[in-house]
Amino acid sequence: MIVEMGHFALILASVVAVVQMVVPMVGAQKGWRGWMAVAEPAASAQFLLTGAAFAALTYAFVTSDFSLRLVVLNSHTDKPMLYKISGVWGNHEGSMLLWVWILTLFGACAAWFGGGLPPSLRARVLSVQSAIAVAFFAFILFTSNPFLRLEVPPMNGQDLNPLLQDPGLAFHPPFLYLGYVGLSMSFSFAVAALIEGRVDAAWARWVRPWTLAAWLFLTVGIALGSWWAYYELGWGGFWFWDPVENASFMPWLIAAALLHSAIVVEKREALKAWTILLAILAFGFSLIGTFIVRSGVLTSVHAFANDPERGVFILIILGVFMGGALTLYAARAGIMEAKGVFSVVSRESALVANNVLLAVSAMVVFVGTVWPLVAELFFDRKLSVGPPFFDAAFTPFMVALAAILPVGALMPWKRARLGRVMQPLWGVLALAVAAGALTWALQTGRSALAPVGMVLVVWLVGGAMAELWHRSGRNDFSEKIRRLMRMPRADWGKAVAHSGLGVTIFGIAALTAWQQEDIRVAQLGETFAVGAYEITLNDVARERGPNFFTIKADMSVVRNGREVARLFPEKRTYPVAQMPTTEAAIDNGVFRDVYLVIGDPQADGRWSARTYIKPFANWIWAGCIIMALGGCLSLSDRRYRVAAGARRAPAGAVPAQ
């Protein structure tokens, strides 16, 4: 019964979406205020109805209702509760429902907090947002309905893919979707602005928080996915340049570019047409990402749920929205003339350079991702494009970006003199080069990777600190501190996010350059040395968990005669899904992870075991968290809470009509 109500709520939501797509847009064109006002209650209704549908599906998973096809395919009564719930979005149908629910959430937020927007712009934004929702409601109802029943329900389900039964991955999709779908908001704003025919500082100030929120969620989502791969796949890889990973990385890069170009629109009323184009492309890449994941067209280790027929549907959605938006862009972008005038050396130019590097690097990832398909279709060459290509083709852009970042961040608007900008930075630069040289001298191998990473982290973190210090003015110490404390949170957010980038770059460089690995067959009680550590295989036991069997090793890690950690790597077998997983045991540290994996028993009773020493591994994700924190700080800046402010507008102020 509850499931049927959920199904019904979903259909109702799609009808509301159609109304919200048509009525406010007509109202905005004709200037009928009543019709425009339909958008807000409709957006709330859509959100609540889709939420009800999602709740009904969750209920079916929690109660293990095996009359539902989806539950049978993805759940099992023995599965822990957390994974029964995460199982709702651990499959195609459920994840699309979550996707569209988040889409309606963003629409509802625009309705709830959009008081400060001009009514016609708000009506158009909500209408465009709803058009996207209509397409995805249709997609769900016609090709991937989660509420299909089975005539003969089986006794039990087929269980969720064991690799997905993991806390890191349970929360990875919701964050990623909040990011993907958050970019729909920027898209709706861009298209609405094109229809309105105007883009101004207020528009940019509106788009930025949405983009920032989306970017922040994408950052966390990507970091969670990478962290999961690190500890779950059993060899500590954290990024594979897999099509599915690229699918989330391309919108991240474009969103980062959009964040920066929107600042130029906001402060200087320039780069308008480019910003609109980025907003369209950012969501376009989100849709491409959805297409890649959902269609499985580019084979990859991650596409657990794929179906080409559905791929065609998403491709049509992609074509309609991108084709429509870009046509509109071609027709209208010319009207948006720039106002700001600035010299070639200026903050504006630095942000243009930032945009060039981010956008081109996103295109490099895109070309690399689709190249196997292009080569096969047009050149009849069956080939692969893997990590070695991306490492070579993508990395230089990030190094260049990091190299110009602190300089650009310190540039004043309109006109700058490079000599003066560099003044507070010379010390940081010297320190960075010295740290890099020291790293080069100390390391045993002669790879430039780690020294470059070291230079960049010192340059970025030091540069961010120098910037804050510089901005606190020529005052005595206590006055400087006071000014630092009073500085707008957006300035702090900028410094923190830029430092986070440096930390991540260093983590990647150090881990890649300095990782140590040991593969061997060990006897019970045997001790072996890896790097500075002595590892002992104490015992191996067979145990059983709620829905799996496990081989669990007991290993101690000793350094300088002192036990640093006692670790229990496992090798699990999930009988229902008939899949084994490796559960690596990791001793996390600030400077290194000790990463142990237990393997198969050998014929002579010994066990194969793998040990990794992974220096600075956690810096990779710590940097992502720092970047996200920077985003949160910026987002909490009162200057960007236009909406909250607009609500508190003085009662006497009648909206200008």
């Binding site: 060899w235 600035f342 190249w371």
Partner: protein
């Protein structure tokens, strides 16, 4: 279009099957019994393995893969190295037998040049466009404020928040 999709689907099925087989295989990639005694040769073998694709897997190198076929390839690479082949000879040997599909880093030949040149070309192009834009902006006359009085008022209210 349907032809493409059928092709894609037909090709996906074996991959999924292969993936399941791969996961059902031994726990991890390089097995202790594969490791060569000579550490220099072994390191070369590992480096080469990282650039070769496991044919039955989805986007994994033979160094990472658990599949039996990847193991065979790893052993083959080591065999050639022990026989005295140079790195290039080993790669050529493998490509001869399995096609360029095994290379994770595509060669910069023929149509692949597009792939390799795409990044630098786009960079040069966009820097060129940016330079033209910046020159024009730096020479543009100062604009008049294009907002009407009431728009100014609303903008002011918003910005004051």
């Amino acid at each position: 279009m349907t032809g493409v999709w059928r092709k894609v689907r037909n090709e996906c099925a074996p991959y999924i099957a292969a993936m399941l087989i791969a996961f059902a295989g031994p726990a991890f990639a390089v097995q202790p019994d594969e490791v060569l005694d000579d550490p220099v040769l072994e390191e070369r073998a590992r480096d080469l393995s990282k650039g070769l694709r496991c044919l039955v897997c989805r986007n994994e190198s033979i160094d990472e893969s658990n599949a039996d076929l990847a193991r065979d390839l790893r052993l083959l690479v080591r065999e050639r190295l022990v026989a005295g082949d140079s790195d290039d000879e080993v790669i050529a040997f493998v490509v001869d037998r399995y096609g360029e599909y095994v290379l994770l880093k595509p060669t910069a030949t023929g149509s692949n040049l597009v792939l390799w040149v795409a990044g630098p070309a786009m960079l040069v192009l966009s820097l060129g466009i940016a330079a033209v834009y910046l020159r024009r902006r730096s020479r543009a006359p100062a604009p008049d404020r294009g907002l009407s009085a009431e728009e100014q008022a609303r903008l002011k209210r918003i910005l004051e928040e």
